[in-house]
Amino acid sequence: MAGANPDLEKLAKQEYKYGFVTDIEEDRAAPGLTEEVVRLISSKKNEPEWLLEYRLKAFHRFREMLAEGHAEPEWAKVTYPAIAYDEIVYYSAPKQQTKIDSLDELDPELRETYDKLGISLLEQKRLNGIAVDAVFDSVSVATTFKAELEKQGIIFCSFSEAVENHPKLVKQYLGSVVPYSDNFFACLNAAVFSDGSFAYIPKGVRCPMELSTYFRINAAGTGQFERTLLIADEDAYVSYLEGCTAPQRDENQLHAAVVELVALDRAEIKYSTVQNWYPGDKNGVGGIYNFVTKRGACRGFRSKISWTQVETGSAITWKYPSCLLIGDESVGEFYSVAMTNNKQQADTGTKMIHIGKNTTSTIISKGISAGEGDQSYRGLVRMGPKAHHARNYSQCDSLLMGDGCGAHTFPYLEASNPTATVEHEATTSKISDDQLFFCRQRGISEEDAVSMIVNGFCREVLRELPMEFAVEAQNLLAVSLEGSVG
């Protein structure tokens, strides 16, 4: 094809508008991961003994993994300079020690930060009815609507608060979906996790509002290690939104989160993410390293877990939201749009592990590569020996914009059951010059034309997003969302 179209490149060259830092005094541990640091974290949070022990077990295993030398997964198709684990600060909290009752009591500079991010908690409270648990660096700062949710018996709070107020629940489920030994980054997380979200939806309760959390990495040299645990009891329903922004920094920042979801009989969890981590400048310097383990266990009969994500940020992404389809007739879904630009690298995908009978899974993955971005879709569909009549449908489409980018697909299909069905389709396309020119000849600028076409390409995924994220998805992909007229 003809050489790269310079106008196409203009599309993804949007100034990262969230590039700023909040100057709040912080409380930081010294760099490095030692048993002392782990104990410090645990004591800062007044954690019970059992949790400290859990952390220490993970810590020891982590150091073993480091010593063994083959700890960090090497099979992912990403390259990055070695992470100096002993130079990272594993704990930092803003000096907001007293709990506050209303948003008005928040540190004004903090509030300004949220305003800049376009996440006015106050507005959300008034207009959308979204309960927000805002995580600022490693400590949760505000929780709203707790009282209203409590009326229905819904627990939605920071992970730290859950440890304090609902220890039995936490103890029962923590590490039950992602054990600390599962992988290198999960192990690190289990030792030093700072905070995150916790939700429990009781039997038969349909959570009346989207639950949401905004993350932000602020301090230089601080890794962000959130831990999230969501439990939907029998016949419960919850939709959870995770959205992130991060400021411009010069050094890479490590983000190693763990998300565990548990759905019991006939329960449903919908987990949506719109991610906008700083991707590094156009030479790939200074972006976020995003190594996340997300897994949902469909324990119950006819339980359902859906992952929907739109990713455009981070320098390096390594992330495979997965479903364990344990209960008979349980359902797992994965809808994803991943965009890599400049020198971003992403190795992402999903794992659908079919264990029970008549389980079904759907995977729709849309990858958009631009600039010199490189992305791989890596998917595993495993049909266990008892997964009678289980079905999977996978569709992986790549859209290449320009000549310098790459897209790769590594589907792994393992079937140990002769009655299981696995379907996989994949397409690779470029935005054709003819399509672009057609739009231009109708008066639409090239930038808008690309947006339209990209939006059309991602349509199946974008329509799975809760409406609250529609605006963020728009900004991130530079597209406008609209259904058909009339």
């Binding site: 739009c439 000849q441 008066g443 600028s445 090239e446 059309g456 390409f457 007229v485």
Partner: protein, 259 residues
């Protein structure tokens, strides 16, 4: 005394992918006129239409294209479109995932904004759309489908005419709009085009076949050969061509060919 032409193409030289195709083309269209261009394959018909709308891959090496006195040659394609230049493509593309009606409303509003007119909201646009769809006999449900996806050849051509009806351009170029059409589709397409005829508008109809010109009766007919217009006349020229073939023109070319 003739008024200033709406479109004035002077000594146009253009290359396609580096190869010279147009070699000094001259053509004038007054507002209100319909001109037909016929010519053998390779004569430069597509190059002409592509150059007029600014398609990448074509370079104008000499001459100019004046539209309302403005030279289009340096103007971006979308700006030409907003100024009122429209091309009905010979092979309309499909754009999966982008709904027809969403796309059309964007186009209509881009042009209205350029003209300083108020943009149409969804309801007003829908009303306008339904009205125009009747003119090309398209069923309403086609508009919520993706652009040209799953459309037959005839439906795609009708969609082109529908767009022309919606965008109300001043200079319409129809690039072999009749190719691949059966008699009924041809009738519908021609009808749509004729609806657009007006004293403010000029049309350039590019075709191989006389048949279309029975339906869209031209004021002038030109024959394109080797990148130049070699003969012009009225509608009877088209009939003569059909009778005698292009060879007749090319044979006569040596005599009256300006160099």
């Amino acid at each position: 005394m003739s008024a200033t032409p709406l479109v004035s193409i002077r000594n146009l030289h253009a290359t396609a992918g580096g190869t010279p195709i147009l070699r000094g083309l001259d053509l004038e269209l007054q507002a209100g006129e319909v001109h037909a261009i016929m010519g053998p394959n390779g004569s430069g018909k597509s190059t002409l239409s592509n150059v007029l709308v600014g398609k990448p891959g074509y370079e104008v090496t000499d001459g100019e294209v004046l539209f309302r006195g403005q030279n289009l040659v340096e103007v971006e394609p979308e700006v030409r479109a907003r100024e009122g230049v429209f091309l009905a493509f010979q092979y309309p593309v499909e754009i999966p995932g982008v709904a027809n009606n969403y796309f059309l409303r964007s186009a209509v509003n881009a042009i209205r904004e350029h003209r300083g007119e108020e943009e149409l909201d969804a309801i007003d646009f829908l009303t306008l759309l339904k009205e125009k769809m009747k003119l090309v006999e398209m069923p309403e449900d086609m508009m919520s489908r993706a652009i040209n996806e799953g459309f037959s050849g005839g439906e795609k051509k009708r969609n082109e005419i529908l767009q022309m009806l919606l965008l109300e351009p001043t200079f319409c170029i129809l690039d072999e709009t009749d190719s691949g059409l059966d008699i009924d589709a041809l009738r519908v397409v021609a009808n749509g085009v004729n609806q657009m005829r007006s004293p403010e508008r000029a049309m350039l109809v590019i075709t191989h076949y006389q048949r279309l010109l029975d339906h869209i009766v031209p004021d002038h007919v030109h024959v394109l050969s080797e990148g130049r217009i070699v003969k012009s006349g009225d509608k009877s020229l088209a009939l003569e061509l059909e009778e005698k073939g292009y060879g007749w023109i090319e044979g006569a070319e040596g005599e009256g060919d300006p160099s």
